[in-house]
């Protein structure tokens, strides 16, 4: 007789389900290069200073922002605030130890210096 092998144990929440529970949006960014630094600008409206996290982890830079949602539902609604999250890969030409971040009017600015190892170096030529 065939046995019913169907499991009745509820499956653990899938990754997708967990992600949906804490739904985030990726902020829009600009990334540009100056002579000695890279600058990243991210639009994160609704995020206050204490709701912002900038994390570097090996070759990854993560920016996260928690927004304060309004208590009452608007009568007319065009936007919905959601928490922000976006991940970037940091290449080895950046010096993560010198990173700095500021938040102004809903725009996050991160300055990352270029690695001194990759700065052009002049090699003195010795004469014999």
């Amino acid at each position: 007789m065939a046995t019913d092998t169907t499991t009745t144990t509820p499956a653990a929440p899938t990754r997708e389900e967990r992600d949906r529970a804490t739904r985030t949006v990726a902020p829009r960014v600009d990334i540009c290069e100056l002579e000695k630094t890279y600058v990243l600008l991210a639009d994160m409206p609704g995020v206050a200073q204490d709701g912002l996290d900038v994390i570097t982890e090996r070759d990854t830079l993560i920016i996260k922002g928690r927004v304060q949602r309004p208590e009452e539902t608007p009568d007319y609604q065009e936007f919905e605030l959601a928490d922000y999250r976006r991940t970037f890969t940091i290449t080895e030409d950046l010096d993560v130890s010198g990173i700095s971040a500021t938040l102004k009017d809903g725009v996050l600015r991160i300055d990352i210096p270029k690695s001194p190892r990759l700065q052009p170096k002049k090699i003195p030529v010795q004469t014999k």
């Binding site: 739904r23 949006v25 829009r28 960014v29 600009d30 990334i31 540009c32 290069e33 100056l34 600058v39 600008l41 639009d43 994160m44 409206p45 609704g46 995020v47 206050a48 309004p70 009452e72 608007p74 009568d75 007319y76 609604q77 065009e78 936007f79 919905e80 605030l81 959601a82 102004k104 009017d105 809903g106 725009v107 600015r109």
Partner: protein
């Protein structure tokens, strides 16, 4: 108020587009729109004393930000400029729109500009718009 805002065909199109985006699971923030058309996006809450308008406009140049109220309309003007020290930077990615924006909202109620307040923090513009004091009904004499 809602009826007036939604009855416009373009506004209705936008609303449908937003609904579709929501249905397909992409919480597309409204501030991803370019700075033309309905920018900045707003939420409106009706209160007893007036209306609360929340607008999303991160990185607006504070000197350029201007709110005017006349009749039943509120106009929001501003400009998004690039950072002063990044004028000669070489861009690798550019997703954030720049430039001037203007939006006029017809709210359906006569407003009192003297009792209208605006605050700008964390890239959100918060307007508290007071309604004009009710004008007494006027009796029109009928001429024979």
């Amino acid at each position: 108020m809602e009826a007036r805002l939604i009855s416009h065909p373009w506004t209705e199109m936008r609303r449908l587009q937003r609904e579709m985006e929501r249905l397909f699971g992409d919480v597309t923030p409204s501030w991803r729109w370019p700075l033309t058309g309905d920018y900045p996006p707003v939420n409106i809450t009706r209160r007893e004393e007036g209306l609360v308008i929340d607008a999303v406009c991160p990185g607006a140049d504070r000197d350029s930000l201007e709110v005017t109220a006349i009749g039943d309309s509120v106009t929001i003007r501003g400009q998004r400029r690039s950072e002063p020290d990044l004028g000669e930077a070489q861009y690798h990615r550019r997703e954030r729109p720049q430039g001037p924006f203007t939006r006029t909202l017809s709210l359906g109620d006569r407003l009192d500009p003297d009792r209208t307040q605006a605050t700008y923090s964390n890239g959100m513009l918060d307007l508290r718009v007071a309604r004009a004091a009710e004008t007494a009904p006027k009796k029109i004499p009928i001429q024979s």
